[in-house]
Symmetry: C2
Subunit: 273 residues, 2 copies
């Protein structure tokens, strides 16, 4: 709406449901070219080594795919502006913001409560669509008004501030990255070493925010769900399009919680062996 | 965006800044006809007795004008659907919702914290524009998903629930209307009887949510501001387009607060007499 010119073209990497939704909405404003997709393997990997059309207005990426448990580990070099939906892994690790022309992210994973969205945009990519959007939907409106064009959602913004102050106090994104790496390595090594479980995402593309895994014997799912419940672990049901289990490890989840889960996985394997 | 057909026409009553903003945005999607305006007297009254074009898709009204302190007391009979922005007086008094085809209201006056908007819409006025809006901006999307298409702003919604439970516990909109009437009558009778002050809005259109008034001697403004500050009263500065003072009396303001203000106004008059 803010970037795609009338009769213009935008390039999209289709890496999951959120990418798909972005493509669907962009089609209302111009042409979309899907330059790469992992749909052939149910989005279990991140497309790589694709060519980026120089005549497109921008390349759109999704940094982390919550449903399929994949994450971009290395961003492509792009001859055109790069737009990235970082909703589900922003502030989980250092990112070179200067390499992106527009970053957007809903607050509700690593920032704060639902109800506010963060946008980082380079001024010079705006104002080129030849389209008049509603005032509220123009990024320029919010730039011109220092993000106070409308009465802002004060409480969600306040909690984002408090969360970022907490993050800064423990050493910032560099510090949380180390903890997130520990959490992910602990869980994925359990998934890989425990014969009862198997990961669903390609190993090199595994998300450090959302680990998706199945039981090697699907008939034991009810048993495992029972054990999870008995131990106070909730919300591990995988999305219906993948099945199995999904453990989310956003910044707010302590290492101790992953330890609890991996201990239970070990015990479950011993019981059922 | 949801109601005005391609090449269609909508009728607007221009009663202040918020009406103006609505007209500006509607122009992006079709033709607007301003059927009545009070711009000639700086929006100090509510336009009445205008004719409503039968070929317009809807008539748009603003129930209460915060900046100018005016409020619709009797809604017009309309041959076409009526859309009303009730942001600043919803839940302040009983309203026959069935007479409106679409009511919208930001939460942050009588409902809850900023960050959520209430919409009440008749199903049969939707789906007639011939336009494809972004999915998120189609009311039908939210109807189809029971308002859970997106991750909702949970905290603002929760506080709205708590506020509405409180309102219900004291007797609902009929009970709060009596209190709001008492508050408004107390303040306006002081404004009218005290020679130091004068109201800016036409008496019959005075808002029961926002009372705008001036000092008859503008040179005393600094003195009155000092007295307000000494008594812990803040936020009474009028909007720059009207000047003077504006006392807002939303549901959350108790009668006692209005008593404090009117007492100070009386004392100020005695001091300066």
């Amino acid at each position: 709406m803010n970037l795609l010119p009338l009769n213009g073209k935008a390039a999209y990497v289709e890496s999951g449901v959120w990418a798909n939704k972005a493509i669907k909405e962009a089609k209302l404003f111009g042409t979309t070219e899907v330059v790469a997709t992992s749909k052939d393997k149910n989005f279990s990997y991140v497309p790589k080594n694709y060519s980026i059309p120089k005549d497109a207005s921008y390349l759109h990426l999704t940094s982390n795919n919550t449903i399929y448990g994949t994450q971009i580990k290395a961003y492509p070099e792009s001859p055109i502006p790069v737009v990235c939906d970082m909703s589900s892994d922003i502030f989980s690790k250092p990112v070179d913001v200067s390499k992106f022309d527009l970053i957007y992210a809903g607050a509700q994973k690593n920032m704060g409560p639902a109800g506010v969205t963060l946008v980082i945009v380079k001024n010079d990519i705006l104002g080129k669509t030849g389209r008049s959007n509603p005032t509220m939907f123009e990024y320029q409106t919010h730039i011109d008004s220092d993000s106070l064009y409308n009465t802002p959602p004060v409480f969600p913004i306040y909690v984002c501030m408090a969360t970022l102050e907490w993050l800064q106090s423990i050493g910032g994104v560099a510090a949380i990255e180390k903890i997130n790496n520990q959490k992910a390595e602990m869980l994925y090594s359990e998934i890989d070493s425990n014969p009862m479980f198997q990961g669903t995402a390609a190993a090199e593309d595994r998300s450090f925010m959302n680990a998706c895994f199945l039981l090697t014997n699907p008939e034991l799912e009810d048993d495992f769900n029972k054990v999870l419940k008995e131990n106070g672990i909730i919300g591990l049901k995988g999305h219906r399009s993948v099945g199995g289990f999904r453990a989310s490890m956003y910044n707010a989840l302590p290492l101790e919680s992953v330890k609890v889960l991996t201990t239970i996985m070990k015990e479950f394997a011993m019981q059922k062996a």
